[in-house]
């Protein structure tokens, strides 16, 4: 597993990519600083809706995770190098899991730092709130990562599928159709933030903490299972 993990880290962790991730993760921090600088400070709910739910978990986090995770398998399929791994005497799960771990290793720190700093500045040093935001964001990264990893195995058009999911499902439909929020990673991430600190995101999320936690486990496990099953059954180029 270590060999696959380190290989994937090298594949995904190039300097230009890390630079782009750093720039993207700075955006919410920058925005909250600008908001606080204004003469009329925004309400907590408008900050939570706009910056945390809209920008961080709704746009930047899924895009960052998509850019890192979908190519984990999609590039190998395109370059026909996946056979180097599948022709090894190891279970398919020992290919999928390290790929996922490597993708999360690359993307999660940027999201975590961004969420921590954003929360820290917005909540004026309230550590519990900050950690709730960070924890919810990291879990969101894991959920997005496993979904996009599966997309990467499903099709070389994984990025297209992922972008459709982010922009239309998470960005548009989840905002207007309440039923869709039950199937939205963004809303689960914010529900978890609320669960970790009930003072925050009060009344915004449609999903309770317990349900969010349960669904997180089911979605994560389900897509991981689907990814392993897909790798086992597919024809490897």
């Amino acid at each position: 597993m270590g060999a696959v993990y380190f290989l994937t880290l090298r594949q995904l962790g190039s300097r230009p990519r890390l630079l782009v991730l750093a720039m993207l993760s700075a955006i919410p921090v920058f925005m909250v600083l600008m908001m606080l600088r204004g003469n009329t400070a925004p309400s907590v709910s408008s900050f939570e809706n706009f910056i945390l739910a809209g920008v961080l978990t709704g746009s930047i986090m899924p895009l960052m995770v998509l850019a890192i995770t979908a190519p984990a398998f999609a590039n190998e399929l395109e370059d026909r190098t996946l056979a180097n791994l599948t022709l090894a005497p190891i279970a398919r799960s020992r290919i999928v899991v390290p790929k996922l771990l490597a993708a999360v290793t690359v993307s999660a720190p940027f999201v975590a730092v961004s969420a921590f700093l954003t929360g820290e500045f917005a909540y004026l040093g309230d550590l519990r709130a900050t950690l709730a935001v960070t924890g919810g964001a990291i879990i969101g990264v894991a959920l997005y990562a496993v979904v996009f990893l599966f997309f990467g195995l499903l099709s070389t058009q994984a990025i297209g599928l992922g972008l459709l999911y982010i922009v239309i499902w998470e960005g548009f439909l989840a905002g207007f159709v309440s039923g869709v929020r039950l199937l939205s990673i963004r809303y689960y991430a914010t529900a978890l933030m609320h669960g970790l600190d009930p003072r925050r995101f009060a009344g915004e999320d449609q999903v309770g903490f317990g349900m969010a936690l349960g669904v997180t486990v089911v979605v994560f496990g389900g897509f991981l299972y689907l990814a392993i099953r897909r790798l086992r059954r597919m024809d490897v180029p």
Partner: protein
């Protein structure tokens, strides 16, 4: 290995992609030694190899190796080395790193000596610390071969392994394969280079239009092609006179004269011709200078079967 000595058993294997049948009801056994897999472009060789290595599913039939199914059986890969036709390397990785990674993935415990050996075998010790993106095509091919051999597999499946290799490397590679075959390895080699397969392979499998057109030693295959007479070229000091005499032999189907003074004899019974021809020449007082079979080669067998099957 199974009781009948087969290491690889392919039984009734077919593969279709929608309405396109790539491989159709192919069955054969492969034992130790070198087996050449031949066929024109699009014949289904690569699809067949991919099914034999478990990279692709079969639509029908079974593929087993050492009596075990190949597909969904990762532990079997400890005993198999596969080199596909595509350049499946990571350009950012150094050659040695690539071979070491493959060795680690394939469970090699004594890593560094195994990597050293594999790289020495392909004569790339000088270049092993360079990124493979800087290698020539032939070097990438050789490093891939090192990665295929590093875990000392019992079975080698090689798809166009000599692509991009220069003449010296080809000679070296042939010697390596012969050594491995002598040591009891089972090697399946797919290639377009008929002369090399002819030289190396004990057994040949000819795939045409997804079907197994012939299998066995190529001379035996040639002999089995009853409908095709052999072509024998004869140089002598009186070609017309010999031609007139030879046409009367029972073993001769037809004779024609070449513009360069030789005669070409078509015969379905070369064994009898071998006996009758010298007697006839002696009786006619004709000196025979040269008698050579023109289609006693894998290329001609390939050509007959491909034409016949196409």
């Amino acid at each position: 290995m199974t009781e009948d000595g087969a290491v690889i058993k392919v039984e009734g294997v077919s593969r279709w992609f929608g309405s396109v049948v790539a491989v159709s009801d192919v069955s054969f056994d492969i034992g130790p030694g070198i087996t050449g897999l031949l066929g024109p472009n699009g014949a289904g060789k690569t699809t067949l190899l991919r099914m034999m290595t478990g990279l692709a599913a079969v639509s029908a039939g079974t593929v087993t190796m050492f009596g075990q199914p190949v597909r969904h059986n990762p532990p079997l890969y400890r005993r198999i080395g596969v080199m596909s036709e595509h350049e499946t390397v990571y350009g950012f990785m150094k050659g040695r790193e690539f071979v070491r990674m493959l060795a680690r993935l394939r469970g090699v415990t004594d890593l560094e000596p195994a990597v050293d050996r594999a790289i020495e075998l392909v004569d790339l010790a000088d270049a092993q610390h360079r990124p493979m993106g800087t290698y020539s095509r032939g070097m990438r091919q050789r490093m891939r071969l090192a990665g295929t051999l590093v875990h000392d597999p019992e079975v080698l499946i090689l798809d166009e392994p000599l692509n991009g290799a220069d003449p010296r490397q080809r000679v070296h590679f042939k010697e390596l394969l012969l050594q491995l075959a002598l040591a009891g390895r089972t090697i399946v080699l797919s290639s377009h280079i008929l002369e090399e397969v002819e030289e190396l392979a004990d057994t040949v499998l000819l795939i045409v239009n997804g079907k197994l057109a012939a299998s066995g030693g190529f001379r035996a295959i040639r002999a089995a092609l009853n409908q095709r007479p052999y072509h024998v070229r004869i140089l002598c000091d009186a070609p017309r006179r010999l031609a007139a005499a030879v046409v009367g032999l029972e073993s001769v189907d037809a004779v024609h004269a070449d513009p360069d003074g030789a005669i070409i004899v078509l015969s379905r019974n070369v064994l009898d011709l071998q006996v009758e021809l010298p007697r006839l020449a002696k009786a006619q007082q004709i000196r025979l200078r040269r008698v050579e079979p023109l289609d006693d080669s894998l290329e001609s067998v390939f050509g007959y079967l491909v034409e016949g099957g196409g």
